[in-house]
Structure formats: structure tokens, C-alpha cells
Symmetry: C2
Subunit: 446 residues, 2 copies
């Protein structure tokens, strides 16, 4: 089992093992932190009464959480209090950042929030994995990390952890990408990427599958939030799947579950990047659509211009607006295969919703009617098991958003992962009145 407990995707999984002092302390720190996050500002006495911890313990835990910059004190609580009012505790974490990145075929995305979930960064840079060696790609990733960390520092935020999303099979215990066919990565150690970045190497880095992280983001806060059985499909050059089943991320024995892109759908089809014939992504991946619509401009050629998926989609839409008849037919063909492949997912997972991410979301108006009809034709349970396609509203940042979310969850589960030290920020109040730090920009290719 490579993914261990984190892949059960929730706080419900009890941690087993000897309950030594340090473990109990960590667990109580997490209890108080989550309590404040869920219930809002309240006095130490209220926390003690509501959690069942005794007041002395709460006082000690609060001191530690204050020192780690995870909570702060606010004005006195008056409600019903008798005697000297105590200062209320509230989740702070505005100086603690969670950084998620995604490396994909034609972009690197960065997304960061503070501990309270406020979005601090959201940008994407163009990148050409197909014309790059893993070495050069890791250098690019390191540069993106350095840039994100610097931007967060300017906001007074220090980074509590980094998670990198990669479209491939990941050994999460060692932080190695075993296979990412579309990136051309085989056995690439990503977790030590900080050795290339000019930033502190004390920040914990984890690597995870892009579709799984995106599925968690959708389940937590996306268009199908809270739907216990859903499938998320990444619409990129490659097609990945993240499966939420019974409210938990489906990991499988090695964390490799949900490799939907390489489900064989057409034994007489084209050869896939993975070397096999007729994989689903040879029918619905972005590279196929681009090839059908603009045969002169295939992926992975040395044309000197790296295009971001948004730019490619803008080009496709422009051709369609100009009356190019190939575009609508190509999109419909993708929609048909989307529905046919999804029928397999519905037969096997019986989800209530299939969330379309990436480029699928951008073309959802055209894709969904075709795909839905095909799904009902091919799914054995089609007439009974109600399953709808919906478009994600996370654009191309679902995976990096999920990656940042994992970092937040890790801090909430173990507040001791954030060091006790002076915050980068002079005062935890100093972000107030500042302009919204989110930058929804896409950087030009370099």
C-alpha cells in the first residue's frame, strides 16, 4: 500500500498505533485547530467545554498553536460571560501558505491558499514537456516553485508544504513518478525538486496523481461538492480519472486506480503514447482534437511556439466561428467517444456525476449533449442509474487546487508540521485592507 492513510481522503480514518504523549498532543492540537476552523471564534473555556478537553490543556494547546502562527487572539468575547472576559481564539493561518503545483504536457500551474482557504495565487505558465527532457522539466518546475514561494513571501506568507500534481502513476512514498507517458517520464524522482530551487529545503514536498487531486478538489468544493460517488475526468493531452466512491478517494492497492486514459476502447484504433492500441485518450485527448481540427499544427512538433491549452482552444473556437465545418464534426466525434468510454465507467463505478475538467469543460456545451446520449446508449445501467455529465468550473487549475488542499489537510491533521518561529509577516493583521492578492493570470511562454 503506497498511499497509506492519506488516500482515504478524510478525517474519518482512525490512526492506529501506540498513543504516546507526542501522538496525543498532536491529535489534541489538531482537534482544537479543526474545532476553531469549523465553529469560528470562541473562548478557551468554550473550546474546553465543547471538545471535552480540560481547560488547562486547552490553554497549553492554544499557546502552541499561537506560537506556530495557526491561530490568533481577537477582541474579548462578551456573550454571556461573567467576570473578566477572555480573548477569543480564532483560526489565523493567514501567514501559513499551502502551495499546489501541476506539471502537465503544455503548462505548469500554481495555486496557493492560506490555511483558511483564501486564494493567494492562481497562475499558469506555458511549457513544452514533449520537447523537454525530464531534467529540463524539473528545472522548469523548480523555477515555478521559486517564483511562487517568492510571491507568497511578498504577501507575508511562508509555505507550510508543497504538493506537485503529475499526470501519471506515482510512488507517493518516495515521491517518484513511475510512469507519466505523456510527459515522457519514467522513474523520475520529483520529491527532491527543491534541491534545484533556491528556496528552503525544509518545506515538505509530496507528489500525487493529478486526477486524484482534482477529484478531491471537486468533491470538497467544486460543482459536485459532497456527491459521494463521482468521477472526475481531466481533459488534457492525456485523460486521467479520479474516482470518489462512497465519499472516499479510490486508491487501489498501489494508488494507481482511475487510470481511465488507457482503457482500451478500440482494438483497431490508433497507437497511444503508452505504446498500446486504441486507448481512450487516443479518442478524446486534446492532442487528437487538435490534430483533427488543425492537422498542420500537431502536438510535440518543434514549431518554436509553445501553446497553452487555452490558446489552442481559442484557435479552435475561432476556426469554428469562421465556419470551418471540420470543427463541429471533430468535437462531436470526441463527444461520442467520451460517452462510450464513460459507459464503461458508469458500468463499473455507478457514479451519480461525471465532472468534466480541463478542455472538456471549455467545450462542454457541445460535448455534453452528444456524450450523454451515447452514455445512455452504451451503459447497461443507463436507463436506471442516473448519471450526468457536468462541467467543472475550476478550469485548468483543479489539480493544483486539490494539491494545495492536501497541504491544508496535512497541516490541520498535524499542526506540528508548521514550525514555531517568527512569521515572515510583521503582524498577522497586516493583510487587512490589502488588495486581493489573487492573480488569475496566464504567463506568456518563455
Amino acid at each position: 500500500m503506497r498511499r497509506e492513510g492519506t488516500w482515504n481522503g478524510g478525517p474519518g480514518t482512525p490512526r492506529r498505533g501506540p498513543a504516546d504523549q507526542a501522538t496525543v498532543r498532536r491529535s489534541n492540537l489538531a482537534l482544537v485547530l479543526r474545532h476553531l476552523r469549523e465553529h469560528g471564534a470562541r473562548s478557551r473555556s468554550a473550546v474546553a467545554a465543547e471538545t471535552g478537553l480540560n481547560k488547562t490543556t486547552v490553554t497549553s494547546l492554544a499557546s502552541e498553536l499561537l506560537a506556530r502562527g495557526l491561530i490568533k487572539e481577537t477582541g474579548p468575547q462578551h456573550a454571556g460571560a461573567v467576570g473578566r472576559p477572555g480573548l477569543a481564539l480564532t483560526l489565523d493561518g493567514s501567514g501559513v501558505g499551502a502551495l499546489g503545483l501541476e506539471v502537465n504536457v503544455d503548462y505548469i500551474a500554481a495555486f496557493a491558499t492560506d490555511l483558511a482557504g483564501r486564494v493567494l495565487l492562481d497562475w499558469r505558465i506555458s511549457f513544452n514537456a514533449m520537447n523537454s527532457t525530464p531534467e529540463r522539466s524539473l528545472d522548469e518546475l523548480a523555477r515555478a516553485i521559486k517564483q511562487a514561494v517568492d510571491e507568497l513571501a511578498l504577501l507575508g506568507v511562508r509555505v507550510a508544504g508543497i504538493t506537485v500534481a503529475v499526470p501519471g502513476l506515482i510512488d507517493t512514498t518516495t515521491g517518484t513518478v513511475d510512469v507519466a507517458p505523456n510527459l515522457g517520464w519514467y522513474g523520475v524522482p520529483v520529491a527532491n525538486v527543491l534541491e534545484r530551487a533556491d528556496v528552503s529545503r525544509d518545506v515538505p514536498v509530496t507528489i500525487d496523481n493529478d486526477a486524484n487531486l482534482a477529484a478531491l478538489a471537486e468533491f470538497t468544493s467544486g460543482v459536485a461538492a459532497g456527491t459521494p460517488d463521482l468521477v472526475y475526468l481531466t481533459g488534457e493531452v492525456g485523460i486521467g480519472g479520479g474516482i470518489i466512491a462512497g465519499g472516499r478517494l479510490l486508491g487501489g492497492a498501489d494508488g494507481f486506480a482511475g487510470e481511465v486514459g488507457h482503457v482500451p476502447v478500440d482494438p483497431s484504433g490508433d497507437r497511444c503514447g503508452c505504446g498500446r492500441i486504441g486507448c481512450w485518450e487516443t479518442k478524446v485527448g486534446l492532442a487528437v482534437l487538435v490534430r483533427m481540427v488543425t492537422p498542420d499544427n500537431a502536438y510535440g512538433t518543434h514549431d518554436g511556439v509553445v501553446r497553452d491549452p487555452e490558446e489552442r482552444l481559442a484557435e479552435i473556437e475561432a476556426r469554428q466561428a469562421a465556419g470551418d465545418p471540420h470543427v463541429s464534426e471533430a468535437v462531436a466525434e470526441v463527444g461520442r467517444w467520451l460517452g462510450r468510454g464513460a459507459a464503461t465507467l458508469v458500468n463499473l463505478f455507478n457514479p451519480r456525476v461525471i465532472v468534466l475538467g480541463g478542455y472538456f469543460a471549455r467545450l462542454a456545451d457541445q460535448l455534453i449533449p452528444v456524450a450523454q446520449a451515447e452514455l445512455e446508449r452504451w451503459g447497461v445501467a443507463g436507463s436506471i442509474a442516473r448519471c450526468s455529465f457536468v462541467a467543472s468550473d475550476f478550469g485548468f487549475c483543479a489539480a493544483s487546487r486539490g494539491a494545495a488542499g492536501i497541504v491544508v489537510e496535512r497541516v490541520l491533521s498535524d499542526p506540528t508540521t508548521v514550525d514555531v518561529r517568527a512569521s515572515v509577516m510583521p503582524s498577522s493583521e497586516s493583510t487587512e485592507g490589502r488588495a486581493d492578492p489573487v492573480s488569475h493570470r496566464v504567463k506568456p511562454p518563455r
Copy 2:
């Protein structure tokens, strides 16, 4: 969500709701019963000390469990006891039977255990669903139930519950089979089958998917017992799948997950019983093998002789032994498609083991080497995610065994489902010295 809590497949799921007196009582009855089952005979004091319940409560709970015939008193416990030794309590349930049945295309199977898991019944009768209306099939099922209940009564066992396994999509809340293409059942209410059987209608009857029940039986006590990520494949005329993921049965939004038989694997293939083209079961179902090997003797013809799958396999093996060259090639062809279809399951579920049930198990020596090689060729994670085929040793009774197991679990979770009344048996000791009641017989066709 049609399947509710039972589909999480274990005691780990907390029951929510108002903790009224009756609920607390039921929960405590279950606690004591499971404690005795897991830890063996012990005094009321020991049960109180070990469960944290107070002694008066344990005494009251024990009285009720004794009245319901679920536990009994045994000779005095001496170990370390001071003063008057109390009688020890131990799981009885030898007078309480759990009955599982399976209706399939060419047989009805029955399997029963007592509450302690002792096998009481295990038989199969030939049956021809293809030449039968649902009405007549339900009459056959009712006759099989009557026969099983009568046989159990002769053993002094009253039936605490019945679960019927059916190869199709089941609405478990109403006990209706929505779709079972190979039986020709659409919207067939099975839960009220007892109205046709000349037995007490007070016995609770539930209906479930055959592959899910078989997967639970394998996970609980089969060749891959305890493997948290496994797929069970029924090898019958139809191919069903039961998925254990992260130690839980995968249900999906409607309990329809695991419909592997109708995954499209060959767009240019044959028409399936479900009406679609190229479903996996058109490549690996028993009917296909029979057609390839004995084209003169297809399934579902009015040849007047109903054959059990064992008989058909015996005929195939006899032809192979006689040197018929078609047999080995046909089996290898099934093996290849078994591996190819399994590659999709491995890509999507990343199981450690695929348990082959039904006829696959009988031909495992020939099928597995071919299927394993094909799996490694087609699974994207094939070289990394270790997954092995293994043959079930439950023969054709895996589903009925799982069905009986569900009844046992239900009684253990809510002992009040067993009535307080005089047992059918004059004495709970009277089975001792009796011959083993298990009959591994297959009845002749009628």
C-alpha cells in the same frame, strides 16, 4: 442511495440517528453477541469488564440473548474465580440458520450456516431460466426455499433470514430485480417470493447482486481473504464483478457498481444478451465457450435436457481428453479476452488480486497463464501494479455462501431480528453426535 449502510460491508460504519432506548439496547445486544463470538466463552463478569458495560446490564442482555436462542450457558468457569462460579456464556446460534440462495441461468444454489458459521446446507439444482418465464422461475425459487427450510427444520434449525443472489441490477430497498438480462428478468419483485413458498412469511428476505455477495464471501473467507483491494469475477453464462476497494464493497450511487460483463471490449464483436455489441461477456461467458466447443449444443435451445454448468464443463473436458483440437484453442481464446478485459479492471481499480469464480475456476490451469500474460500486455500499470489471477475454491456456491454470510452479519448487528420463541429444537445440545449435516450434492434436473 439504495444500498444504505449494509453496502459499506462492515461494522466500521457508525449508525447515525437518535440514540433512543431501543437503539441503545439493540446496539448493546450486538456488542455482547459479537464479543462472545470473537473471544469465546466467558462469564457475565468478564463480559462486563471487557466491554465496559455494567454487570446488571450484561445480565439483562444475556437473558434476552438466551431467550432468542443466540447464546447458551456452559459449564462453570473456574479460571481465577473466587466464590460461587457463574455459568459461562457462549455463542450458540446452532438453532438459528442463515439461508442464502442464488438464482442463475442454469441452476439454483442453496447454502446455509448456523450463526457460528457451521455449514448446514450446500446444494445446487439444475434449472433453465432461458426456457422459463419469471413467474415459473420464481415458483422454482420458492420450491427451493421450501426445501431448504424443511431440511433445516429437520436439523432443528429455524431460519433467521434469507438472502437471494441474482445476476443483475437490484433495487435492494424494494427487493426488486430491475434488470437481469441473462435471466430475462426486468422489474421482477423477488422479495415477496415467500408468498409462493409454503413457509412462514415472517422470515425477512433480501435480494442482492450475485457478484457482490460472492466478493464479500471471498473477502471474508476465500482464497484472497483479507486482501483489501480485490475483484471477484463470476464465471457463468453472464460475467459479473464484485469489487472490494480499500476493504469495502464498492456499491456506487445505486448499488450497481461492478457491472463488468457489459463493458464494451470489441465494437465489431457479437451482439450481447443485453442488446449491445461486443460486451465482455460475449467473449468470456460460459455460453460462448460452449458454443465454440460444441456448436451443436447452444444455450437456451429446447433440447429437453437442462445441463448444470458442471455437466457442461465435464463434457468439454471429455472432448479435450479425447483429443478435440477445438477445445484448447477455444479455452485459450477465452483466456486472452479474460486478460484483455481484466486490464481495464486493473487500470481502473488497481486490485492486488482478481479472484476467478464459477467456470473460470474450474478451467483455471488453462486460463490463468494466458490471461496473466495478456493482462500484463494491456494494463498500463501492468509492469508496476502487481495483480494476480487466482482461482476461487468456492465453486459455484460463492454467491449463495456470501448471501448466507449477509444474513449472519444482519443477526449479529441486530439480534432482535431473531424472535424470542421456543426453538424448533427440543434442546440446543441435541445436534451433538449427529452426522455432519452438510450435503455437497447436486440434484438431478427435474
